[in-house]
């Protein structure tokens, strides 16, 4: 082990809508396999205990859990403690009858934190509130980790805000859907966005997608782990088959590689004297 090495696995599988107990059991079994193989940080897909394509607010509510009392969270928490690992897993969070598309970060000693998806995609707006916890960075024995969920990854601001807080690794529970016009033999655009973000922020990215077609909506797999140069070190996994992608990542590399030469360090090269006037201000009304 050098500096800050950790073996990471993204467990790509197919949750079944509404079959929460079975989905969690499947995930815990696969987590056990990965942990037995030496992985210390496991990333699961977005909404991986409940399924994604909800039919109603009532269904979303029925499938939601609180972090404190949820059965899925309890099962994953027990797995993290029993196997001495960290787990990042997507689920429907309920608090005060509000629902969020969230991910929980668990360690051997219990709850580390929660992230609530800040950028909701399409019909999610019918069931969930937008995230209200900002872009937190969580401290672990092996380094600093941030979490983004699916469409969050379309916003360079989100990656950058995590990098500016020193994140070495961003875990991405996701349910990627097909993009228009993808040419044959091209990496998926979702993969390209992860690669660009990893490179331009000098961070590891571990993105765990689901597979299968749910209520007519196909998902695209292709889970992957990207190094701070922006290149995949594991995956992309299959478009349609379950599979676990695993890589040993030296998170220290993320910090070292931010310095590129005598003059350039990516975070310090930012022209913050030029950015403030627009990046933080709302899009002008009526503007396209």
């Amino acid at each position: 082990m050098s500096e800050a090495e950790v073996q990471i696995s993204c467990i790509q599988f197919e949750p079944r809508i509404g079959e929460t107990e079975q989905n969690v059991a499947t995930s815990v079994s696969l987590i056990g396999d990965a942990a037995a193989g030496g992985s210390k940080l496991i990333v699961l897909p977005e909404l991986c205990n409940s399924g994604y394509v909800l039919n109603s607010r009532e269904e979303a509510y029925e499938l939601s859990e609180t972090v404190e009392t949820g059965n899925s969270i309890a099962a994953w928490r027990a797995a993290a403690a029993d196997m001495d690992i960290h787990i990042v897993a997507g689920f429907i969070e309920r608090q005060d009858d509000r629902l969020y598309n969230s991910a929980v970060v668990l360690g051997p000693k219990g709850l580390i934190g929660t992230y609530r998806k800040n950028h909701l995609w399409n019909a999610e707006a019918l069931y969930f509130e937008r995230g209200d916890l900002g872009f937190p960075v969580f401290h672990t024995p092996f380094g600093r980790i941030g979490v983004l969920i699916c469409y969050d990854g379309w916003f360079p601001e989100a990656w950058r805000l995590l990098a500016l807080q020193g994140a070495d690794l961003v875990c991405v529970p996701t349910n990627w859907v097909p993009m228009a016009e993808q040419p044959a033999n091209s990496p998926a655009m979702a993969n390209i966005l992860c690669m660009a973000a990893a490179h331009s922020n000098s961070m590891f990215v571990a993105a765990c997608d689901r597979i299968g077609t749910e209520r007519g909506q196909p998902f695209i797999g292709q889970s992957l782990i990207v190094n701070p140069n922006g290149w995949p070190v594991a995956g992309p996994a299959s478009v349609s088959e379950p599979g676990t992608v695993t890589a040993v990542c030296n998170l220290s590399a993320a910090r070292r590689q931010r310095t590129w030469n005598s003059f350039n360090q990516v975070m310090r090269d930012r022209r913050t004297d030029l950015y403030p006037e627009m990046l933080g201000t709302p899009t002008r009304p009526g503007w396209y």
Copy 2:
């Protein structure tokens, strides 16, 4: 012609260091070929009249021009007028004995504007001042265009600031150099950054690189034009050979495609309530 179509060409060639007159003559000849083929907007590489690998401040100064009096600018201006086209071209700009890594934007009626590279790469810091003109967007008969130069493209803030001002197209005069660890058969990271930026901002990108090895520094070609979905519509060109990549682009598509479904419009989905606290503030001193 529908809506706002324009045929764009990126002219990838090999400037020779210090041979300004010959470099401009070569570029004007190639511009003529592209214009004869119907192109109305021509993008040339970064520092394409002077060459890139400078040996001294004195050499940089000798090769610099003012926008008002420079011979290269005059030649390109004449070409734009004669051929009824627009040209975006990189050159060493001098003003009040300050030097900038700049690009001029010319139209049939003359000078439209100048962009000065805001993020300097490596030894450029020895010769050039950082840009002090912000991220301007220029208006043309076919739409709004922005300009970024090479390392600027590593900063998602730069693309976003252009998109937030309504840019339909970003022209990128560049001198890309090899990146560490690129896997065989992968798109170049520079291409990936263009694709990610085009997709997540819904803009066209026309990036014109140079080729050849200058004073020991290799360049990587692979000029390309990317549509607002993020996919190449022309190129990438050769790694080592000259070549012009050309595409007919409907710039209106950039604005239409920002709306993805009933709920999502990429510019309006930005969580500006969460961004301001950090994006515009300087990196903390001592922070890696």
